[in-house]
């Protein structure tokens, strides 16, 4: 046998052995997070998706996941050991690259009025689905019918136990927690405030004497860059016919029937502000509160 043939055969055997070891140990990193629940088994081998074929699995919804840094998905269907496929439970573990990506994706689905649970860093729980985020992963457990609600949580907890623990995302503290309407804090990765030139940013809702105000903040590379973004943002809002923009102290204010009342300013590298549909004064109160918060953070950084 020639040398290259020997090398070929040796290599081939190596590959086969490795493949078997991988199969036995389930060493695919995402597959290792799949749940183990007594009485349930995998209906078929898990499927993996990448950014190039995520559309095949979730169609147009894929764009949202991609915008939050999607890297890979493992999807597995479970069926009862003794039962039919009609009772199948599907587990999807999305690797979003970073904890912020996972939180951002999860937060895009949140709103007040849903039921939230304590799985992972936080979970949205419904009779047919448990969705949670933890570390850089967003996990979705989907059931076949409403009788499986408790079971879904069991699956979710099994996945959660295998994932890295929740860490702190410092940026989530930029918007003050005091007065924040629960489950309204969002991270928008792409097109924050409708502008391509802004980096990803955060928004959350607040109540001021019964009026809802949305606060927003993003961090630019420098204070100069933040000022430049401020002027471009005000310019964009002024595109609306009849929009009125004026400077009032450290804030720029814009008012328009679609935009509502917006106050926006810069604090160090942060571009921040607040908007309210009906009351300029309520938006200003929240914008001022946000400024204080950012100054506090800047002080802590020094």
């Amino acid at each position: 046998m020639r040398r290259w043939q020997l090398t070929f055969v040796f290599g081939f055997v190596l590959v086969l052995v490795r493949a078997q070891v991988l199969e036995a140990s389930g060493s695919d990193s995402l597959a290792a997070f799949l749940p183990e629940v007594t009485g349930w088994r995998l209906a078929e081998p898990p499927e993996t998706y990448t950014p190039d074929n995520l559309f095949d699995y979730i169609d147009g919804n894929a764009e949202l996941y991609l915008s939050y840094g999607f890297r890979r998905l493992v999807s597995a269907m479970y069926v009862p050991e003794q039962g039919s496929e009609d009772e199948a439970i599907v587990v999807d573990v999305y690797d979003q690259g970073t904890p912020l990506g996972a939180f951002g994706l999860y937060s895009s689905m949140c709103r007040p009025g849903l039921t939230y649970g304590e799985v992972g860093c936080e979970a949205i729980v419904s009779p047919l689905q448990v969705r949670f985020w933890q570390d850089r992963y967003e996990v979705e457990i989907n059931g076949a019918d409403e009788s499986q609600a408790e079971l879904l949580e069991k699956f979710a907890r099994s996945v959660s136990a295998k994932l890295p623990r929740c860490g702190e995302i410092p940026e989530l503290k930029w918007l003050p927690e005091d007065g924040q309407v629960p489950h309204t804090l969002k991270y928008v990765a792409d097109g924050f405030l409708g502008q391509d030139f802004l980096p990803g940013g955060f928004e959350a809702k607040y109540r001021v004497h019964g009026t809802v105000v949305t606060a927003f903040v993003t961090q630019c590379s420098t204070e100069d860059s933040a000022r430049s973004c401020l002027h471009r943002y005000v310019g964009a809002l002024e595109k609306f016919k009849g929009a009125v923009a004026k400077q009032d102290g450290r804030f720029w204010g814009v008012a328009h029937k679609y935009v509502g009342h917006v106050w926006v300013s810069v604090e160090g590298p942060w571009l921040y502000g607040a908007r309210c549909e009906t009351e300029a004064s309520a938006a200003r109160v929240v914008a001022e509160r946000l400024r204080e918060r950012l100054r506090e953070i800047a002080g802590m950084r020094r």
Partner: protein, 383 residues
């Protein structure tokens, strides 16, 4: 069998020239040569099949839009067709669109989607959509993501849609399809039930789908095109030129397409897409798309998986392509190296050394030998 066949260069040029009358008309080509034009867009409308709705040829794909002002801006520029779905952002996308509709319902046609389920669940879904959209009627409801003929002809679903129409929840019914599109479109025509169809259609689309679109239009179904940019990487070394406008113009050359729904998240994207209205596909567009197409064809793996298990040494060429996608496409060397490590690509490529060149041929013409060599360099650097 793969549904969407690649379009050969000759076929691409034939198809673009056939409709690209602008190539023979110098002043039209010159008008397009400037890329973005300065004057306000001339809004163009077409009729959405038998619905009779006069829709702007550039519609609004809202699936990722988080700021309602972006939608307001598009409506101000003449866009009047918004597409969303009950599942986008788990319902929040409809909430965002609803904040716009509540003050501008008369300016807008709204299209959303419902998944096939029991009649009770489908009715409940559309009732939730009405509430989130802050409207009392949805203009177009679409069955979400039909993948085969049986889905399109599902009687339970059709009965539910009919009931929605009779109850005044919706005006017109249709479906969206991403896979087996020809089969699904033909089933829709055969049923005589659907008013419209939402299809994947771009300059990279299989000509058979284009023919099916023509049949649908002839049968009175309105055709809405999605994924008009053909996907691909965001970063391309194409100078100061963007393929988006050219890709959109290419789609709009086809009179059987009533409107398009490019996804838009910013004012700038709205400006770029809306500017296409009232312009014609020109020589510069044809050239630019040909170049973009070449990039898509020869630099980008489609992950069709046809090369899987073909390597006699057991090298996973899918993993090789994935590592390169992360390294070259996303510019994320760290992810590329981690993927190579996780998948054991470095080890399997040891076996690859036995061949002087790659024995596997890519159906799409990717140079696999070169790609394997690149990954060997990368993982070598890792070691």
């Amino acid at each position: 069998m793969r549904e969407q066949q690649t379009v050969s260069r000759r076929e691409f040029v034939r198809r673009t020239l056939a409709g690209g009358l602008a190539l023979a008309i110098p002043h039209v080509a010159k008008a397009n040569a400037d890329g973005q034009r300065k004057e306000p867009p001339r809004v163009q409308y077409r009729t959405l099949g038998r619905t009779g709705l006069k829709v702007s040829v550039v519609g609004f794909g809202a699936m990722r839009t988080s700021d309602p002002n972006v939608i307001h801006h598009a409506l101000d520029l003449g866009v009047n067709y918004i597409d969303t779905a009950c599942c986008y952002m788990d319902g929040n996308n409809e909430v965002i669109v609803g904040t716009v509709l509540k003050s501008r319902r008369d300016d807008t046609y709204i299209a959303t989607k419902v998944h096939i389920a029991s009649e009770k669940k489908m009715m409940a879904s559309v009732e939730r959509s009405l509430k989130r959209l802050q409207t009392d009627v949805i203009d177009v409801i679409q069955l979400h993501s039909m993948k085969k003929r049986e889905h399109v002809l599902n009687e339970t679903a059709m009965n539910a849609l009919d009931k929605m129409r009779k109850k005044g929840y919706v005006r017109f019914v249709g479906f969206s399809t991403h896979k087996n599109q020809v089969e699904c479109i033909d089933a829709g025509i055969e049923s005589g039930f659907y008013d419209m169809v939402l299809v994947t259609y771009s300059f990279k689309t299989d000509p058979e789908i284009e023919k099916a679109i023509a049949r649908a239009a002839k049968a009175g179904m309105g055709v809405v095109a999605m994924k008009t940019q053909a996907g691909g990487y965001k970063k391309h070394d194409l100078g100061d030129w963007s393929p988006h406008q050219a890709a959109l113009r290419w789609v709009l050359r086809n009179p059987n397409v009533a409107t398009t729904i490019p996804s838009m998240v910013s004012f700038a994207q709205v400006d770029e897409n809306v500017a296409v209205m009232g312009t014609k596909f020109g020589a510069r567009d044809a050239k630019a798309l040909e170049r973009y197409g070449q990039l898509l064809d020869h630099e980008i793996c489609r992950f069709c998986q046809d090369c899987d298990d073909r390597c006699p040494a057991g090298v996973s060429l899918i993993d090789v392509n994935r590592v390169l996608m992360y390294a070259d496409g996303y510019g994320d060397l760290d992810l590329a190296l981690r993927t190579a490590k996780q998948e054991g690509t470095a080890e399997t490529l040891q076996a690859c050394a036995a061949c002087s060149e790659c024995l596997v041929r890519c159906d799409y013409g990717l140079n696999l030998s070169e790609r394997v060599r690149r990954v060997r360099e990368l993982v070598g650097a890792m070691a």
